[in-house]
């Protein structure tokens, strides 16, 4: 059960949710993915703005930039999971009412969520199944992002 880290970001925030990060099962060699640690923050000039982050389930891919996950243990093989960042076209199948983690933070702040062992957010071994990290801000239009740590089972 190898563990990986991947960064994600969204270059331009708007008042509607945009995908900053997306971890999903690949087309082949699928396995379950367990998201156990996520870090969130904002770039740009420090100011007092509110950002809302939301993690949701999805069953289809949008258009985003591929990110290569880094194995936490160099002895592990490369990740089979697919990670995308800075989506330009949102996934058409973000599951309604599938909020997993939702919170607001000040632009100056950094948040980190760590799951208890056994309470990770699990992505089933199903084609294109995944979790997206969405972000919006009523006023801030700069970049926001973070990093996610996950385990392949």
């Amino acid at each position: 059960m190898a563990k990986y880290a991947a960064k994600f970001s969204q270059a331009t925030l708007t008042t509607t949710f945009k995908t900053a990060g997306h971890v999903r099962t690949p087309a082949a060699s699928m396995r379950r993915i367990k998201l156990y640690d996520v870090l969130f923050g904002a770039g740009g000039t420090p100011a007092d703005n509110v950002l809302e982050f939301n993690l949701k389930r999805t069953t289809a891919n949008g258009t985003d930039s591929a990110v290569t996950p880094v194995a936490l243990d160099p002895a592990d093989a490369a990740a089979v999971s697919t990670v995308g960042s800075n989506a330009t076209v949102e996934s058409a199948s973000i599951t309604a009412n599938s909020d997993l983690l939702d919170f607001n933070l000040n632009q100056r702040a950094t948040y980190r969520w760590i799951a208890a062992p056994g309470s990770e957010l699990v992505i089933p071994n199903v084609l294109n199944s995944g979790i997206v990290v969405l972000v919006l801000s009523p006023a801030y239009t700069g970049a926001a992002g973070g990093a996610m740590l996950f385990e392949e089972q």
């Binding site: 000040n106 760590i114 799951a115």
Partner: protein, 89 residues
């Protein structure tokens, strides 16, 4: 609430804030557990799977819904996927 498990850590100008969290056994929603809050406001305990569940799932079960842990839901999804693949769909 005992053994909430997860933690949400915020670091900002005014210092560090830590809030316990727990993951709903049925839908995986992460509920934040503020200090000294009333446990009844946060969700409940499912007597079938013996795990913590969120407010939404407590309401579903109060209306007669069954205990369906996320693990069971994933197995059903994966079985459907395996069947689809076996038919070449």
């Amino acid at each position: 609430m005992r053994n909430a498990g997860g933690v949400l850590i915020g670091v900002g100008d005014t210092g560090t804030v830590e809030v316990d969290t727990f993951t709903c056994s049925h839908c995986q929603y992460v509920t934040k557990v503020p200090p000294r809050c009333d446990p009844a406001d946060l969700g409940g305990h499912c007597k079938s799977c013996d795990k913590l569940v969120c407010n939404k799932c407590v309401n579903i079960m109060a209306r007669g819904g069954n205990c369906t842990p996320w693990e069971k839901q994933m197995i059903a999804m994966e079985n459907r996927e395996a069947a689809r693949r076996s038919y070449g769909i």
